[in-house]
């Protein structure tokens, strides 16, 4: 465990330059703006998730440029520890970004009260959870690409999950005899939303399966990589 902790620290040191004051201020301004314009906190938190997903490639980019993949074995890190450590780092980065977005939203709520606006909902909405889950699944699909091809080759391939979702959206919208897959899915989802426990169980199951497959693929790919 201590090795994983050290690795997360090393990853943090590696991406530190991306996390300068400028980046934090940009996120803060975006979060404040979205809270004030949308009137909901969930949208702001959603921005946090999107920023986190966009940032997934940072540790891979820095590792590739600096040759850190060759450094890891000299620090007595196994490939399994590198993969596990990277997943934990990304998870913590996601949590930190969403937390920061929420704190920014709180600031936005405070500001809105000063200007006489009202923020309708400060809690976690189901819409936010659904959008976040979708983005996290995309992130989980992207990670094995980075482990297999390294950042510079994989950065174009990581657009594939986004493109696939748009393509899928187009496909499910096609209706045959007045019935479309979209309608069936929406009906299923509306039933699911009515049963919150079921929704949580399905979301957690899908996420767990994706995490498992993503991790196993990353392990298999990274074990074969040589630097």
């Amino acid at each position: 465990m201590s090795k994983l902790k050290c690795f997360i620290g090393l990853d943090f040191m590696a991406v530190k330059s991306y996390l300068g004051l400028k980046s934090v201020l940009i996120l803060l301004v975006c979060a404040l703006f979205s809270t004030l314009t949308s009137g909901t906190v969930s949208t702001t938190a959603g921005i946090g998730v999107i920023v986190a997903v966009i940032s997934t490639g940072y540790p891979f980019a820095v590792s590739e440029k600096a040759g850190l993949d060759s450094l890891y074995p000299t620090l007595s890190l196994s490939k399994k520890q590198v993969v596990s450590g990277r997943y934990l780092f990304i998870f913590l980065f996601d949590i930190s970004t969403v937390t920061f977005a929420y704190i920014s939203a709180a600031l936005g709520k405070l500001l809105s009260q000063i200007f006489g606006h009202n923020i309708s909902n400060y809690g976690i909405s189901w819409e936010f959870l659904a959008v976040s889950s979708a983005f996290i699944i995309i992130q989980l699909i992207q990670i094995p690409f980075y482990f297999k091809f390294s950042y510079s080759k994989a950065k174009f391939m990581t657009v594939i999950p986004f493109a696939a979702i748009f393509a899928l959206y187009g496909v499910v919208g096609i209706s045959v005899n007045g019935i479309s897959l979209e309608m069936i899915i929406m009906e299923f989802l509306s039933k699911l939303v009515e049963n919150k426990l079921m929704l949580a169980a399905v979301t957690l199951t899908v996420l767990s399966i994706t995490v498992f497959i993503s991790y196993q693929l990353s392990m298999a790919f990274y074990k074969k990589r040589e630097f």
């Binding site: 620290g9 530190k16 850190l68 060759s70 074995p73 000299t74 620090l75 007595s76 890190l77 630097f227």
Partner: protein, 287 residues
Amino acid sequence: MVNTTNLLEVRGLFKKYKTFTLKDVSFDVPKGYITGFIGPNGAGKTTSIKAILGIISAEAGTVKMFGKEHSNVLNTGIGVVMDSPMYVDDWTVSDVEKAIAPFYGNWDSGKYAGYINQFGLDKKKKVKDLSRGMKMKLQIATALSHDAQLLILDEPTSGLDPVARDEICDILREFVSDENRSAFFSTHITSDLEKTADYIIFILEGKIVYSGSKDELIEKYARAAGSISDISSEHKKLIIGYRGHSTGFEGMVETANIRKLPKSVLTEDISLEEIIIFMNREGKESE
């Protein structure tokens, strides 16, 4: 039985690439000495070092470090200095310590600060702003701050001016003044090894062609030169890396074979650099 006189024992390393193969690489790095790893560019020095460190996986062979079968865990006992530092360009000299130190239980911050001071490095300076010599010194400072027993250096003096090279050689000599430590030092700059190395491992086209003491290697061969008309085809077979030109021939001969050559052939002491050149030439001609 574990041979505790060797800090590193490599046996039968084999790794095949499309255009290059590391063939049955075997050698020892004895305790208390500097061992030079020489060979021309592309001979397999870096590949061997990467296989030893576990950066690449060998298809066959074993590596024993400190008397134990190598696993990544043992890498805490070694200090690694590569051709270019594996640090983030935007890290400052202080950041390097923050990133690396947590991996070593015996990291000594006082020692690191001492080396940084001794090597004239500025703690606030970024890695990307350091000269090549300073980058090497930064890696050495890191390697020495966790009490490494074995230093593995890949081309540490390549691209450095003579003063910086001499400083690195001095650091290595000081390091092995403790007889429990060793330095394993790859280079193609043989003058550095002539000054510092006690043992030499010579690799050519992925195969070890010599492993032993530096003095024995230099004594084993002599430079031979003379008129082409002085030697027969039988004599020519004794000349390693034979090259004929308009005024005569030159090559290298095993000192044990000097007597077999005509007295008109001039033989003299040979340098490590010439040994590499003649062996390389011989290897290419025999292909």
